[in-house]
């Protein structure tokens, strides 16, 4: 079995290597046959790697301890679905899954790109070149699997019973969090490959944008969703009451998401003839940061809360990043003349100006996060003692950057491309700002006193108002035209992006509320005792013990009477995982729109007391809700483009009446205030 797997790995690498060569040479020499043989080779490589994935998955489910990897991450008692999730828990496995995603996405991309060219027209070369870039990267990943992290390595002690999966990782979110993040990383490879292909071929028109857009949205959503799932796992499973610790690994996944967010906005300004170099740099940086995240987790240069085995893989990734960073920088310099802006920035209150400010702010946040993450290894280079920055550093930076971003997304729905707001838009902006002011008043009445909390409330209120106003304006405009039955559709579709912004607003409310208004207390209770805390009464009714096959669950029954007369029972628990002979904490959470009541039971005994920590997290669920709203926005934004084009473009509130900008209109722009 293991030798079959290794044979398949080798086949995949040869196939991928050939596909990379044939696709790039075929595209440059316009040799159709060579290009088609590249696709065939890639399909062979994908098939071979699929066999490897299936072999490892089957070995994990059937607990085949002849595989070294199975012995490291599974044990005979582990339920099959958690055993399967070990596929992406370990180093070799996660690399395998990542490589498989890269290959599958590359092949899908190759076919959709071909379809795109047939439907819309445009050069074939771009897609073929991008496919070649993808295959080069895939070959690199396969080489690492073969030479440094072999998922198919045979076990030296095949009779063993396995070391088992950490109980911390036995959580539903852990079933899907890692593969989703890996899928996100793999998907960012496609905009990157398209950017590189556009630079190599010199086809720096809108073709690569059109192809990159859906892939960027997919990558942005999967990576963002993956990060949120990871946060939710930390919140529910780690039992320390928080969800984000600015750990190097978390930062590693956040940074490409931030630059990716900026890059998607860059795609929009490119269509206006602006920020071309910035967009390319962002596309390249985003993928670079995805690789950098792997370096962070595998190199062992950090004192991370996530412990991964140290391996040379991290340094291989760093070398790879260095090579492609230099390569891309050279490419951009060579194509500099093709990448100048087609016109100057129109006005400070135009959409492009706000997008630019947003890009700068996101880049700042990324840079500061990177600096904080690297403080430890960098200081280690210069002095004997290494220096770390604490949470305050990151949280402090998040305040100004977060508020600026929130202000930008609050204003942008009522602005237009290419010019400052019209008088009508100005009036609507004032109305939205008024709504924001009333939101501040409501927040004050609700007891919010912190200036940051009030600022978030005001800006979020403005954001909701401006989005609704933009939708209403669109509806009214299109209602007057003769396409009545499509009106709602148009309104919703044209504002998909703003729906994502609304999600961001929700997220900001959740983060601000749960961090600024959080309260915590430690206490011990005896059976039958009742305590009052933060407007609730909590009665410790009983302690129950359940003996299950795999573990022992000891849970406390807490009867809670909430502020509004709502009563519910919370069951915080301690679980003994038999295979590891280790206790784990299971927190109990009661979640409402107003906030979460979070209870941790640390320990205790039947006869005596139990020891609890109670935490109040106001507005916590808004954070998760923001994620779902943004997801809805993305789904709408990804609906087939043809449908959208039929309706919108020029009749949207976001578009100035002037035609698509070109050089001849330069004077018009420079005269605007």
């Amino acid at each position: 079995m293991t030798s079959l797997g290794q044979l398949c790995l080798l086949t995949a690498m040869i196939g991928a290597g050939y596909a990379a060569f044939a696709a790039i040479v075929g595209a440059r020499s316009k040799h159709r046959g060579l290009g088609q043989s590249a696709v065939a080779a890639a399909i062979v490589a994908v098939a071979a790697l699929t066999v490897v994935v299936l072999l490892l998955a089957y070995a994990l489910v059937t607990k085949d301890f002849r595989f070294e990897y199975v012995g490291q991450y599974s044990d005979p008692l582990l339920p099959w679905h958690y055993s399967l999730s070990a596929l992406w828990v370990g180093q070799a496995g996660s690399l395998l899954v990542w490589g498989w995603f890269v290959a599958v996405l590359a092949v899908i991309f190759r076919f959709t790109s071909g379809h795109h060219v047939r439907m819309v027209g445009g050069p074939r070369e771009l897609g073929e070149l991008a496919f070649g870039v993808q295959m080069t990267y895939f070959t690199f990943l396969l080489a690492m699997m073969i030479f440094a992290a072999d998922p198919m390595a045979p076990s030296l002690t095949p009779g063993g019973r396995g070391e088992g999966l950490s109980p911390l990782l036995q959580h539903p979110a852990m079933l899907i969090h890692p593969p989703i993040v890996l899928l996100g990383y793999a998907a960012w490879g496609i905009p990157f490959a398209l950017a590189v292909a556009a630079l190599i071929s010199g086809q720096l028109d809108e073709t690569w944008l059109q192809q990159a857009r859906p892939w960027s949205l997919l990558a942005w959503t999967t990576l963002g969703g993956g990060i949120l799932l990871g946060a939710e796992w930390a919140y529910e499973q780690l039992g320390w009451g928080g969800y984000w610790a600015w750990d190097p690994v978390e930062n590693g996944s956040l940074m490409p998401w931030l630059t990716g967010t900026a890059m998607i906005h860059g795609l929009m300004t490119w269509r206006q003839g602006l920020l071309k170099k910035t967009t390319l740099v962002l596309a390249i940086t985003t993928f670079g940061l995805c690789n950098f995240a792997t370096f962070l987790t595998r190199s062992g240069i950090f004192s991370s809360l996530h412990a991964f085995s140290q391996s040379p893989i991290g340094w291989m990734f760093l070398t790879w990043i260095a090579v492609f960073a230099v390569g891309c920088a050279v490419l951009i310099l060579l194509r500099k003349s093709q990448l100048v802006a087609e016109r100057p920035m129109a006005a400070p209150w135009s959409r492009e100006a706000l997008v630019l400010l947003g890009v700068v702010t996101l880049a700042l946040l990324t840079a500061v996060t990177l600096l904080g993450t690297l403080a430890e290894p960098i200081s280690g280079l210069f002095s004997a003692t290494r220096i770390l920055v604490g949470l305050t550093f990151y949280n402090n930076v998040l305040i100004p950057t977060g508020l600026v971003l929130l202000a930008l997304v609050a204003a942008v729905p009522l602005l237009r491309w290419g010019a400052g707001p019209t008088r009508g838009q100005g009036r609507l902006l004032a109305v939205a700002a008024g709504v924001g002011l009333s939101a501040i008043l409501v927040a004050i009445v609700c007891g919010v006193r912190s200036p940051i909390g009030l600022a978030v409330a005001g800006l979020a209120g403005t954001l909701v108002a401006s989005t609704l106003l933009a939708v209403l304006v669109t509806l009214r405009r299109d209602g007057n035209s003769s396409r009545g039955h499509h009106v709602l559709m148009v309104g919703v579709m044209s504002t998909a992006g703003f729906l994502i912004h609304l999600g961001f607003g929700c997220l900001a409310i959740g983060i601000a509320g749960s961090s600024l208004g959080s309260r915590e207390t430690d206490l011990s209770m005896t059976r039958g005792q009742t305590v009052a805390w933060e407007g609730r009464t909590i009665r410790y009714a009983d302690l129950l013990q359940e003996d299950l096959h795999q573990n022992v669950v000891v849970s406390a029954q807490l009867e809670v009477n909430g502020p509004a007369g709502v009563s519910y029972t919370l069951r915080p628990a301690q679980i003994l995982y038999r295979p590891q002979n280790q206790w784990g904490t299971k927190v109990a959470i009661h979640s409402t729109f107003g906030g979460d009541f979070y209870v941790i039971m640390h320990g205790g005994s039947q006869a005596k007391q139990i020891h609890l920590t109670l935490i109040d997290h106001p507005l916590m669920c808004w954070l998760w809700m923001g994620g779902w709203i943004a997801l809805g926005g993305v789904v709408i934004a990804m609906l087939p483009k043809r449908q959208r084009r039929e309706f919108n473009e020029d009749n949207l509130p976001g578009h100035a009446v002037i035609p698509r900008p070109h050089i001849a209109t330069l004077n018009v722009y420079s005269e605007m205030p």
Partner: protein, 159 residues
């Protein structure tokens, strides 16, 4: 003033405020990251300062209060030892050794301050408020069957 100039100024303001906030945050929260040996050797220099120390819990030295809010242990590395009192939420896999069972050396990272103290017979004690166990993705297999105890995670009964 041209649009570009206005935007540059706006960008600089955002960058300036961010940099200032980062500076404030860094100056109030930065800490040394050191090994036990470095910490013991430089004790006078780092006393009172916020530090993060990594090392191994000396087998047998760990004791945890019944409410699992405080752990005491001796952190050791290359012959140097540092007594630690750590409060706050303790990680799940931090538990004292059970007699008759192989004890594994547990690698941890503790954040806190070094304070003068004579209670432990040492000159300094580390007062921690955050503890992380390393190696969360792998565990050593234990041959013995667990004792399914009726008492829930009570160090007294587990000991």
């Amino acid at each position: 003033m041209s649009t570009t100039k206005k935007l540059v100024i706006a960008g600089l303001v955002v960058a300036g405020v961010t940099a200032y906030m980062a500076y404030l945050g860094a100056s109030s929260s930065w800490q040394y990251y050191m090994t036990v040996k470095e910490c013991v050797d430089n004790a006078p220099k780092v006393t009172g300062r916020r530090i993060r120390v990594s090392g191994t819990i000396e087998p047998g030295s760990l004791s945890i209060t019944a409410d699992r809010r405080e752990a005491r242990f001796s952190l050791s590395e290359e012959g140097s030892k540092l007594p630690v009192v750590c409060t706050g939420t303790l990680p799940d896999d931090l538990s004292p050794a059970v007699p008759g069972r192989p004890t594994k050396a547990m690698e941890v990272v503790v954040e806190g301050r070094l304070e003068d103290s004579r209670t432990f017979g040492h000159h300094v004690v580390m007062v921690g408020d955050k503890l992380i166990t390393r190696c969360a993705s792998k565990y050593n297999a234990q041959k013995n069957e667990p004792t399914a105890t009726a008492d829930l995670r009570n160090p007294e009964t587990m000991r």
